[in-house]
Symmetry: C2
Subunit: 370 residues, 2 copies
DNA sequence: ATGAAAGCGCTAACAC
DNA sequence: GTGTTAGCGCTTTCAT
């Protein structure tokens, strides 16, 4: 069954181009190694070896084969070689959404390393839905991908579908939003210290009444950030107040609503630490609407260094997660294990994030260099 | 040869998890239809038919096959069926960069339609380099993808590599940055009217000395936008002045430099129309630095409706290109032709963009509703 | 240095 | 309704 979207409700013109050579360009049939073999009166085995630059093949034969391949416009059929060798040279990637900066950057990192190793990427979106993630894993298993690199969907309830992949000998590499109960390779950010550093920074800037916008608690990374926040309160000797911790679902709308709730309390916090940049953006928007001066009356900071945090006035303090590097590391784990030729105990690569202090939390004059 | 990036220069910790069941979970061998057949004492042909819900197979047999498949944890091997049928159910996508909002949105649109039709995406980045684009096309041909959807790299000099794909019976669908000499299906935005509309808007707001930031002229879409700009000057009875048209390479740095050049001229323009949002952002940044009041002293508008144009103060007037819809339309073209089962004359889908008027160009009070 | 041949897992035409 | 069989294009072992 064919499923198609309607064209968008906006105006839309479709027209046909004039007579074209489009059809005429098409070949009858793709050349195979057999065609090359026939042309040269040798066997396809030799052709295959020649194309793989096997040392046993005579230089002259190699040259002839290469020439014939060019002449016949031969392209190897990866499906056939995959079937034969059981190796697809494809990495499957599953992310919640690829139009989120963080994820597209990770993908760029994965792709960079993959393409250098002549691997391709099949990219799936889970849209944060368990069912879609499950379907994606299924597809990738069928495609016989060499490995799956993924960040868990917010809605993922259990990880049986991932175990399934491992059962089919497909190594799994989790990044960022991971399930710790699933012992696989993983790439994550260090959390406790960076949250503490951010809190120390807020403290140093004189903020004492710090509210927290917590992400979805079923995603372990957001749970961890929240726990780290609570621990840091203690370390700084600040009181814990459940009312100062508010949840939101990472969307912009929900972020705004959450920020509004915090900022309209009778005892307004003097700073908001959001577990994502959308959270910080929401706080920033509400502060504008309320006419609050940032950073004087309200400090704001987020997490991820999304592009817009640099653009806002005042610019927003945040955390650089080194997303591209996370992708590179994930790819690297795979290619290293491939190189070793054996599974090993799962590795965890912990990437230390970096504080990016901007205007939204800088209300004291800089200390002189010492 | 194995090529790996170093971990990022930042701190990095790697450790092994405790003893895991990771290894033990792996299966000996993936089940095939033959395994199912053996188990049930039938032939693999029947199994294949049963799995495809062929009407000729007895209901009981179907049930048995399905049960056995589940029991053996059978997953079809797409490589094998692709090889047999010559149909990969994969769409190849090539974009300059996937971490640009516009492109990741298009990809989301493509993916949406593709996944509904049980097709997967292999996504390649050209990084605006001709060589990388060429290599990507090569890979996609080898993968025997069902079609290639692409937006040309800035650096693409000729389109022989694309003709190559068509020669291998792989339909090509161009979007946004297209080559008109290559007669393929395409999805583009309407340009002349939207540029004229923007110019009319600027004119209505009293801007008379409008400068233009032109993108790379080897990309036809940027050439067209520029031509449309020049035509609209004429229509509005404004003088053409070559000094008011400046080129930049779409990067943020180059945008800033270009804007600086325009705004430090002795006769400063009263508006800047940039051919991309990065251009507009550059102008916006320079205006801030120079203390120019926007929109009073300088009008700024861009193209693409990147997220940050909404965030800046003042927010930036721009053009909604309906990127996601472009992706959907591209996918749709493919599936429609697939459904028809034949090539036809190349189609062009023209999507009408939408003016998004924001603060950066609104200096007159709104007219009352009539 | 090359040929011969088997087979990866699946589909589909043909036979009964 | 099911079995038989050939073969998609490639790799690779075993001969020679």
């Amino acid at each position: 069954m064919l499923i198609l979207p309607k064209y968008h409700a906006i105006d839309c013109v479709i027209f046909n181009a004039g007579n074209s050579v489009y059809l005429d360009m098409r070949m009858q049939k793709r050349a195979t190694i057999h065609d090359i073999a026939k042309l040269l009166n040798i066997t396809s085995g030799t052709v295959s070896r020649a194309l793989h630059n096997d040392t046993r093949v005579k230089a002259l034969t190699k040259k002839k084969v290469l020439d014939a391949a060019k002449k016949l416009n031969y392209k190897p059929n990866t499906n056939a070689s995959n079937l034969r060798t059981g190796d697809s040279k494809i990495i499957g990637v599953i992310v919640p959404q690829m139009d989120i900066n963080f994820f597209s950057n990770v993908i760029v990192g994965i792709e960079e390393v993959a393409s250098k190793n002549n691997y391709n990427l099949i990219i799936c979106q889970s849209n944060d839905l368990y069912e879609k993630e499950k379907a994606s894993v299924e597809t990738l298993i069928k495609q016989n991908v060499a490995c799956i690199i993924l960040s868990l969907a917010g809605g993922t309830e259990n990880t049986e579908h991932l175990v399934e992949a491992v059962k089919h000998n497909i190594p799994l590499i989790q990044f960022d939003r991971t399930d710790e109960n699933l012992l696989t390779d993983r790439v994550v950010n260090e959390i406790d210290n960076i949250v503490m550093d951010m809190m120390q920074h807020l403290f140093d800037q004189g903020y004492r009444d710090i509210a927290y916008m917590a992400g979805p608690q079923n995603i372990d990374i957001f749970k961890k950030r929240r726990t780290a926040f609570e621990k840091s309160l203690e370390k700084l000797g600040l009181p814990y107040d459940a009312k100062k911790i508010i949840s939101y679902d990472l969307s912009r709308a929900s972020a705004k609503k959450a920020a509004e709730k915090l900022l309209t309390r009778k005892k307004r916090p003097d700073a908001i630490f959001a577990s994502s940049d959308f959270g910080a953006l929401g706080a920033w928007e509400v502060s504008k609407e309320m006419g609050l001066r940032v950073p004087e009356e309200l400090g704001i900071c987020g997490f991820s260094n999304e592009f817009y945090t640099e653009i806002t006035k005042p610019s927003i303090t945040t955390v650089n997660q080194f997303s591209k590097e996370m992708g590179q590391a994930a790819s690297r784990i795979f290619f290293e294990s491939l190189h070793r030729g054996a599974f090993e105990k799962p590795q965890t690569v912990v990437i230390t994030p970096e504080l990016i202090i901007r205007e939204s939390t800088t209300r004291l004059p800089k200390k002189a260099n010492h």
